[in-house]
């Protein structure tokens, strides 16, 4: 190895700097831009106004996920605004010659589910999307981050972005997860520890034995929520687990190209003695299933713990935030969430809607009925995930339990498409955000893992999944 030891982030960053003037941000090359209907219309308008083409349609892939209904595809879209947004997405894809997986495509899905699934996401790449959960793709050892619409236009036009180099943070998670504890619990525990601003300005690299032991799906769940800790990106060094996942997928390299790619990818992991600007450690052995009680993803506790007391907080603003959250959530400090009734269980989103997530949930719900008066929505992350689940009979397990088995989309994670909570309702949700109104105005969200969600679906109250696992 020549020169200074480098981190995974630094290797990818350095390989993508097109030019760098002192004092100015780097011009960073973007290998792949993913596009969806909600954050792209104004970017395409900008290109049209200036008479600019998309520079690399071959490095641009679109789908529709945020505003589409998750009811049967054969039914027309009832929301005129959503329908218009889709039509504009299709027109932009057509006019700018961009590949699109539209609502009727059998490969449509949540943008962060289909990228990896199609083999578009590959180690060492830079990937952007007008969506903060783009950090998901970092699970493959890519540098992937969310951008705004102005930046999306820049990438469409030039395949580059002006970017300042973030600092690096290493999150080490060593140990072995106990039964009933999942990747979701790792990331919720981390955010509870560092806070929703703990990673601001940093690209986070997750490492340690508990990360290595995760499937690609678990790794995606962890990287997905990096943004909820404020981080610019989250990433995990590629290894055999990564290569095995990517191998054979539609857009993955084949034959000799595959061998060459793997040889390159094996150079990506952080060098020994490379420096990180910050290091955080988490003990996997000590983790329990996590659940959030408040209105940001940092307001999380082990499921057996009690809701914290605002009076115990020193900082006046933190105290006010917790008071406001408990008022919004109508929760009492010092009480456990276990046994708290819920109205809705949502299993889905770019965080937890992959086949592994659905298998976990189905395993808990198999042969059981969902609790009375609880609406349980299972929304697969993509049409491919949906078909896979149906081949395995998971849909049958969900339906027989009384859950809804729906079409792929973002659904109640962002509640743009009619899938939403009524004011005052509670959900246990496998999604990523418990912000006020996120799942519908006045709705109250407890974030948790698919296991906890499924256990809660069956009992109708917040339930420790370990109590229902054999």
């Amino acid at each position: 190895m020549n020169g200074t030891p480098k981190t995974l982030f630094e290797k990818i960053w350095d390989a993508h700097v097109v030019s760098q003037n002192e004092g100015a941000p780097a011009i960073l090359y973007i290998d792949l831009q993913l596009v969806h209907e909600v954050t792209s219309p104004q970017a395409f308008t900008e290109l049209r106004n200036r008479g600019i083409k998309v520079r690399r349609p071959d490095r641009t892939v679109a789908t529709v996920d945020h505003s589409i209904p998750t009811y049967a595809r054969s039914l027309p879209i009832q929301d005129a605004l959503a329908a218009k947004q889709l039509d504009i997405m299709y027109a932009n894809a057509r006019d700018f010659d961009i590949r699109i997986y539209d609502r009727m495509s059998d490969k449509q899905g949540i943008v962060h589910v289909i990228g990896p699934e199609l083999g578009l996401t590959q180690p060492g790449m830079t990937i952007v999307c007008g969506d903060s959960h783009t950090s998901t793709h970092g699970a493959f050892g890519t540098l992937a981050f969310g951008i705004g619409t102005s930046e999306a236009a820049m990438v469409l036009a030039t395949q580059t972005l002006l970017q300042r180099k973030p600092k690096t943070m290493n999150v080490r998670v060593d140990g072995t997860l106990a039964n009933g504890v999942t990747a979701k619990d790792i990331i919720l525990a981390l955010i509870a520890k560092i806070g929703v601003d703990g990673g601001t300005g940093h690209a986070v690299e997750y490492s340690g034995s508990a990360i290595r032991a995760q499937t690609m799906e678990g790794r995606m769940t962890i990287c997905n929520m990096s943004i909820e800790g404020g981080a610019r990106a989250g990433m995990i060094a590629p290894d055999e687990t990564t290569f095995n996942y990517v191998a054979g997928r539609e857009f993955a390299p084949k034959g000799a190209e595959w061998d060459a790619a793997v040889a390159r990818w094996k150079q990506l992991p952080t060098d020994d003695d490379a420096h990180y600007d910050a290091v955080v450690e988490l003990d996997a052995n000590a983790l329990e299933p996590m659940i959030t009680y408040g209105n940001n993803p940092g307001m999380g506790i082990p499921i057996t713990a009690r809701v914290p007391d605002p009076d115990a907080l020193g900082d006046v603003h933190q105290k006010a935030a917790l008071q406001k959250a408990l008022q919004y959530m109508d929760l009492q400090p010092g009480k456990s969430l276990l046994g708290h009734p819920v109205n809705v269980v949502f299993i889905g989103s770019c965080t937890n809607s992959r086949i592994g997530d659905l298998r976990l949930a189905a395993n808990v719900m198999k042969g059981k009925r969902v609790a009375e008066n609880v609406r349980v929505m299972v929304v697969p992350g993509s049409q491919q995930v949906k078909r896979q689940a149906e081949q395995e009979g998971l849909d049958k397990i969900f339906r027989e339990a009384g859950a809804e088995w729906r079409e792929a989309g973002c659904s109640m994670c962002i509640a743009m498409n009619g899938d939403q909570l009524a004011p005052g309702e509670y959900s246990v949700s496998t999604s990523n955000r418990n912000f006020e109104g996120r799942q519908g105005k006045g709705g109250r969200t407890f974030l948790a893992s698919p296991l906890t969600a499924a256990a809660t679906a069956v009992t109708g109250v917040v339930t420790d999944p370990r109590s229902v696992l054999s």
Partner: protein
Amino acid sequence: MKLVLAHQCEIIYEISNTNEMEPIKSFKGKTIHLPNTDVDTDQIIPARYLKVTDKKGLGDVVFYDWRYDAAGNPNPEFLLNKPHAAGATILVAGHNFGCGSSREHAPWALQGFGFQAIVSTQFADIFRNNSLKNGLLPIVVDKATHEQLLDLAVEDPDLQLEVDLETQTLTLPDGRRVEFPIDSFSKECLLNGVDELGYLMRQRDVIEEYERANGK
């Protein structure tokens, strides 16, 4: 360094005929405060308003769910509905403002209401980037100054602050000046109202060379 930046901006300026961003030099404006920490972009503009396909009218829905009740009636307790909020151009906001979603609709909505600058102890990364791209100035101050500004805003509903980007200063009513940091590139771009997209378009040769050299 200064020269390089000035040169870059000059280039951008020359070609930015379609530039929508007005140059920012200095302005004085009514200042109101929203001290909540970790205000996320779902609060700034709820997701159901993201079905728009342009940038118009978003000022009407900024902070919608805090501003209006379930029936759509204004909540008189919320800052933006108070009489003194009319005409405000500067918002003193809590720590970690703009966290969560990457939606650029957040700065568009804040600008639509009339804000030109947000003052906080920290901004979420994507929100800050999006704001700078639109000429909404994110001003970072230290905790002590932030507390003073919040106190001033409580005491004086008609608080006026003066922002001078060239000297990177906030001037308080008593004449006290507080410096704020901003990276030199962003500053030059804002001062000249430059257009980053135009700048990147001018880099075509360098980008092509990079693609050739790296087999992209």
